[in-house]
Subunit: 234 residues, 7 copies
């Protein structure tokens, strides 16, 4: 009933050594619709449920490209995410300019993680309120990472964030044998099936409500509505 | 009965990962009279209920032009809005000066959204207390956006903000088929009808209490009282 | 009985999106004696009840000239008002120097409103505790504005601030037809009558307790005691 | 019984638009012994009750000269007053240096009032805890002002500050007809009589416990003990 | 039941002279999986339980190399630890560059301890939330240190941090005679046995869940999965 | 029983216009052993009870020379006093260097008072926790002042600070006729007698527990233990 | 039962004029094992109980050399002490460099005391959490000082800090006649005996658990384990 007294400031530890404000910021990813990422030995697929505020409002985009070989899906405060997306694009461009090559995705992710960690050390600031799934294909092959406001980041074969993301994670766990060897199309359908598990009982997954992006040796590409439909019917 | 303890500071997350101060700032738009925007395939119409503090006071203007091709309607703290309007005009002028062309409306809106987002990250400041409907016509045709203090922005076919704006939104939802193909005059009348739904029982919509602006291929124009009357009687 | 917890800081929104500290600052105008302004098609009259701390103390002046064509009446914290008056005089002089012409009154008022609005955004500062009635005559004819600590400003035909100002406003509302066509002398008497409504039962309006200034095509002029008496007896 | 919650900070308004910390600072003048000033058409007299911490301690001086034509009496925190006195002396000297003439007393007083007002706007500072009676004789004749921590200042014929100053003010009010035409000696005796009203029943006004300064066309002069005695016996 | 009031700020002492926030930060090391270090007369072994968020997530690495002759194991907030690791690597590189020799491990550790101590003296910052086991082999032979957020650091023959680290420490205490003379392989098996004591009843130590690094006269080396397996079966 | 809420910050006035933190700082002088100063027409004597933390600890010195013609005795926080002593010595040296003459003692004291006053105006600082008795002999003859944390300073014939200083003051008051005409030796014995009144019943004044300094036309001099003994037996 | 409200900030006085945070910081010395210092007419001995976190952990060193002629023993927060030790070494080196002679120990101690005092005046910082015994032999012979977080410092013949240091002090008081004339070896044994009094009943003083340093005309030297054993058996 009584809240603890150590959760109002990012620079205050609880007696257990926890930073509650950082943990609360990590809860922000649960407030939006679900996003997911899944990686085979050759491809990475990012997929998200698109939502809008009403029938006359545009969809809220959840997947953004960062460079020609990678992109991100956002869960949490969209306005915070827009800023981080711009940061990633700038980093990618700078790397391209300096080294004349694509930025390694892991490097991109670690830079973002460090930037996030710094926000957990400064009083009078707040941690970012957004978690990212970063997917792409670089010299090391397909890569899939998840970052969070604490500054942690992990590599995944399949992950999901957002409302009821746990159902999607359970789906991936049950199908974990299939993932590594999936074809591009199979990966997309796995992502669709994972998203479907997160819908409430009377919800229905339709091509119009899904955003999909695929990264392979030929780069990162957001699918058009027609392409999504093709996979959906495929 | 007891308020939560996470809502006094813009840099404090609630245990659910929410920023209450940002959400409260978003409530400020409900304090003023209603504004609305509606977009067909060719035009955008902004309309607002004008109010004054009394019979001897001038009306409080709600619609402002930003450039020759776009303008805004304000809901919330008028003094905050005046500052944002000046910012948008300066951005539009700078773009005109540098690129010798009209600023794309989406670019204008994203700049404003980023500016708003930054105010949600700094302790000792406050988010803007104003939400905007931005409408205009650029190379991509008619555009209609809504921004809010959180730094989010969405594109709409029709939207409304302010006291009882929900009635106007419901009206637009019921008439959503008509909107895209409406003529300029039909759009204006749709806006009038939407505003009318927001009045209390004994309220009456009169030409004198309405502000209207229209944006089309020939630019953004605030209507004179006579022009409003003409549409009203039309 | 219990006060709300969102009213201690100018950068904190209430759950309804209100800035209570700004609203409280707007109450400061009610602490002093009443001031009023009224505008016809040709003239503007500012009038105020002068008060002193006792029979041996000078009157507290409420009306000040800003430039040869405009002036202000103050309600609220006099010391804050003195600072704003100096600001307005400097702005007027700068404009005269740069453009070799009188500063437009609306421009002067908007500058002051922006200056006031900025004080509502900074933690560790406070909004000004003073509301102004600004009256004068420029190229656009007679103008009458009211500014307040929130940064809002409105144009009026007649307005009043201070203790029991509501009575004066009601008086003006009842006589609103007469105002626009009033002569200079009629305007002054309207102002006298409005001030008289704000006195308590045993109060009596005497020429010695009134300050009056008139602005017309020939400039802004504070009346001498003799001139006030002449109008009073007129 | 319960204090209000708006009185801990100089930048916080109460719901009535008051700045309680500024008002509290104005109470500081009541903590010390009484000072008074009285002005005829030709002279100004400042007088104060001198007190000491004990028989072996020097008297705490309450009256200070600022320039050859004016001086001050202090009520409140003496250490704050010493700083303001130094400020006034510097201003007077600067004026003498730049314009080769005595600083007008009103100008001196307004400068001090503005300096005081600025301290009411800054968080982390405090208003001065001292009120001043400023008296002197310049080109405009004898002048008598009172300043206070809020930044307000008023001109007086007679005023008093400090413990039981209200009794002295009442005395002056009862004798207000005599003041303007008083001779220098009559003014001094009026001041003595006013001070006498502020003593407790068993208190007795003695020449040794009074400080007096007189300003006339021939300048400002603090009286020696002998001169005080002469007036006292006169 | 009631917490003390001296534990919200790193710059506040309790009446007993303790800095509770620093002590809370030292608790953070208990939140992660266990790490251990053990040193013979010739070698140092670092070992850690690897954990992942799920079957599809990569392991969270706990052991990092700093230079060719030393490395660290982390317990606590991983994102904080990443920053300290980068600091240590930079220090090691700088030393190599300036002195053309390996940085002495004690010097490295003292630098880190001082950096940690500084964070306990500044309001508005927070102590690091991570404790390190630093192991390596320099001119002085094998060295094993433990650092903590308070800025303290100690040299050990064997130490352990993390959940149930106490069991591992007890194991080492029981076997303290064997440690100094152990061979490289014996050291590794001691570390395995220590880690095993920290598992819950149904937990099982498998080669796949262990990270191991060995430092000897020939440098610091993280073991590959095959090498770990070899030692495990050995 | 309940403390007031206006005493936590040096920049907060109580409703009575008092600065409680400054008043609390003035209490700090009561925490140490007693110091006293007494002045005749020719000499000033400073005397203090020396105390130590135990038989093996040196005495805590209470009297310090500032220049060849003056010195101080400290009551309150010794570490604060050491800083002020250094300040006074530097001022005295600077004056000697610039004007080639001894610094007037009143000037020295006023400088210190202003420095103390400034600490009562800044949030985030604290007033000095030390009161000084400053004694010496300059061109104006023997001078004796007392300063305190509020920035006030007074001239005395005899004064005392510290535990039970009130007894010493009463002693001086009873003997006030003798003071002005005392010889050097009589002054010292008056100081001894005053100190004796402050001892508890079973306390005994011994030469070893007294520090004495004498200032006369021939300068300021701390007495050696032998000289103290001589006066004691004298 | 209820704590006072004046102890959370180093810049807040209690109504008795005390700085509780400074006093709390002075308690920190009681948290560690005991240290002691004792001085004869020819030598100074520093001695301390060494402790470790366990059988596999190195001892926590308590005695450090500062220069060839002096050193310190630490009680309190070891990490704070390390910083102060470095400060003292730098001061000693600077003095050696500038004056080509050993730094006088009293000068070293006063510099440290001033540095400590400054930390008691700044909000947002904290006093050092460590008390020092400084011992050495300079031109003035053997010197022994104790410093503490308040900025006070005292000279001693014998002193002790840490857990149950009071027992050691009582021991020294009982033997105070012997101290001044002790030989080097007698001093060491006095220190051993003093340390022994601080052990709990079942504690036993062993050579391995004692650190000793001796300063004499030939400099400051920490004893090796063998030398300690020799004195112990001696």
């Amino acid at each position: 009933m009584f809240r603890n007294q150590y959760d109002s400031d990012v620079t205050t530890y609880s007696p257990q050594g926890r930073l509650h404000q950082v943990e609360y910021a990590m809860e922000s990813q649960k407030l939006g619709s679900v996003i997911t990422g899944v990686r085979s030995n050759t491809h990475v697929v990012l997929a998200a449920i698109k939502r809008s505020s009403g029938p006359l409002c545009s969809y809220h985009e959840k997947i953004f490209d960062v460079d020609s070989h990678c992109g991100i899906a956002l869960a949490g405060l969209a306005a915070d995410g827009r800023g981080l997306c711009r940061y990633l694009r700038r980093e990618a461009m700078d790397h391209q300019y300096v080294y004349n090559s694509e930025v390694p995705i892991e490097r991109l992710v670690l830079g973002l993680a460090d930037k996030s960690q710094q926000r957990t050390q400064i009083e009078g600031s707040r941690p970012y309120g957004v978690s990212l799934i970063v997917g792409g294909h670089d010299r090391t092959g397909p890569r899939l990472f998840q970052t969070c406001p604490s500054g942690n980041c992990y590599e995944y074969y399949a992950c999901a964030l957002g409302q009821r993301a746990q159902s999607a994670m359970s789906f991936f766990d049950r199908n974990k044998e299939k993932i590594a060897e999936s074809t591009e199309a199979e990966l997309v359908r796995l992502a669709f099936d994972a998203l479907r598990t997160t819908l409430s009982e009377d919800g229905d997954l339709t091509p119009a409500s899904i955003s999909v992006a695929i990264a392979g040796a030929d780069g990162f590409k957001k699918l058009s509505d027609e392409e999504v439909l093709a996979f959906f019917q495929g």
